[in-house]
């Protein structure tokens, strides 16, 4: 068999594999996000945004936003410029109240409209009378392998664990 055909066949097989996987179980991103206990007074819970963007830094999807008042959403600066300020509908269904210090685990099912490829997962925290933390992790969606990443915040985030399940 010519190599050309064999390569095509292989890609068909891989494609089918993808399809079957996504039919059986959608790709998901499990997150564990730690908001550290800080010995400061006054303490305000941080505003937190987690989102997906392209390697060219274009916002793709908001995973969650924890906030209290929209007047301060602008202080999640990177998230605000990339998604928040131009598209309120993009985060309408994924908002929640700010969280007290602790570790929060949750899972995000990769939305159907996101094509396979390379992305960057972004984590931003901003705290009133406090600081700001912005962490980024390059990831691949639509792959066959499980991916695990561990990030450590500077101050406003503690440990962040990412598990991508194909």
């Amino acid at each position: 068999m010519p190599t050309f055909l064999s390569a095509s066949l292989r890609s068909v097989f891989v494609l089918t594999g993808c399809l079957i996987t996504s039919l059986c179980q959608a790709e998901s991103i499990a997150l564990s996000v730690t908001i550290p206990t800080l010995d400061v007074d006054p303490y305000h819970r941080p505003y937190v945004a987690v989102w997906l963007e392209t390697p060219e830094r274009k916002g793709v999807k908001v995973i969650n936003v924890w906030y209290e008042q929209d007047e301060w959403l602008k202080d999640l600066r990177q998230w605000w410029r990339k998604i928040g300020r131009s598209d309120a509908a993009a985060y309408e269904g994924v908002t929640g109240a700010t969280r007290k210090p602790g570790t929060y685990t949750y899972e995000w099912t990769v939305a159907d409209d996101i094509p396979a490829g390379n992305y960057v997962l972004c984590f931003e925290a901003s705290r009133e009378a406090g600081g700001r933390d912005f962490l980024r992790q390059a990831i691949t969606l639509g792959g066959q392998q499980q991916q695990r990443y561990q990030l450590e915040g500077d101050y406003e985030f503690g440990a962040i664990a990412i598990t991508i399940q194909p």
Binding site: E71, R81, R85, S86
Partner: protein
């Protein structure tokens, strides 16, 4: 003075010629906020000053809000109008600025989504430099008829400026909406409310609505000049398209200054016309 002198040199000349050559100083308007979010209308406080220290005030700039200033400044202020342009690029509203000893202060309220433009515009103002009969340098704002008897070395200059900044409430409006076609302005596809450390940004410079010539000088200074020994001014020149590219090494407020001088032919009453743009940018960390 020869007409080939650059505006910088003219400014320097003015400084050496007079004790307090106010017009030769820098100017700025510093907004408390450049980015706003939320559904409710929000207000921003503006501080404006004529000063050589970037964002450290020295003299007020504008007084249509019931403050006080010396007669020389009041003469300048009579040519000054502070106003805000709404995101539609058309609706303009006068801003009330109150002069204090060192700065002028006022509030603006942003009701709609989009980018607002703040302008403190000084219409062409006649500044006459001369020497008193005893040879000491002097200058007035006004007419030749107001010069003291026996004045010599008389030079008349027309000076105008725009002191500006941009504020965005929620989603930004493209700069093209705001082009007024008058004086020096920024244009292009970049946005003054989307500036971050390490991301170079290119603005088109317009003079009366058209791209400026290549080689026009612009100066970018990071705020806080008072508290460092070197000003670290970025000296820029426009490219063939009339664009400048700015680089921001630190987060904070920056002042962009662009001066365009046009000498007036010999025998004219006026020696030269000078127009300046002083534009405040806020840059955020990554």
């Amino acid at each position: 003075m020869r007409t080939s002198l650059s505006p910088r040199l003219l400014a320097l000349f003015a400084l050496t010629l007079t004790n307090t050559a106010v017009q030769a100083h820098g100017r700025y308007v510093l907004p408390s906020h450049t980015l706003l979010s939320g559904e409710e209308p929000q207000s921003v406080t503006l501080n404006a000053s004529i000063t050589n220290d970037i964002f450290h005030p020295d003299k007020p700039l504008g007084n249509n809000g019931g403050g006080t200033a010396n007669p020389f400044l009041l003469k300048i202020f009579s040519k000054v109008t502070p106003y805000i342009t709404a995101p539609d690029g058309k609706t303009q509203e006068v801003i009330k600025l109150t002069a204090f000893t060192r700065q002028s202060t006022g509030d603006v309220t942003l009701k709609n989504d989009g980018t607002y433009r703040i302008t403190i515009e000084q219409k062409p103002t006649q500044m006459i430099y001369f020497k008193n009969p005893d040879g000491t340098p002097n200058r007035i704002i006004g007419e030749r008829s107001e010069l003291p008897e026996g004045a010599t070395n008389i030079e008349v200059h027309l000076i105008s400026s725009r002191v500006e900044t941009f504020i965005t409430n929620n989603s930004p409006t493209p700069l093209s909406k705001h082009i007024s076609g008058s004086g020096i302005e920024i244009g292009g596809s970049a946005h003054p409310n989307d500036l971050f450390v390490g991301e170079p940004v290119t603005f088109l410079l317009l003079m009366d609505g058209k791209p400026v010539a290549s080689g026009i000088e612009a100066h970018l200074e990071f705020g806080g000049t008072r508290h460092r020994n070197k000003r670290n001014t970025q000296e820029l020149r426009t490219n063939d398209a009339g664009e400048i590219t700015l680089n921001f090494a630190e987060a904070g407020f920056y002042l962009l200054e662009v001066d365009v001088s046009a000498p007036v032919p010999e025998n004219n009453e006026v020696k030269a016309k000078h127009h300046s743009l002083y534009l405040t940018f806020e840059v955020f960390p990554q």
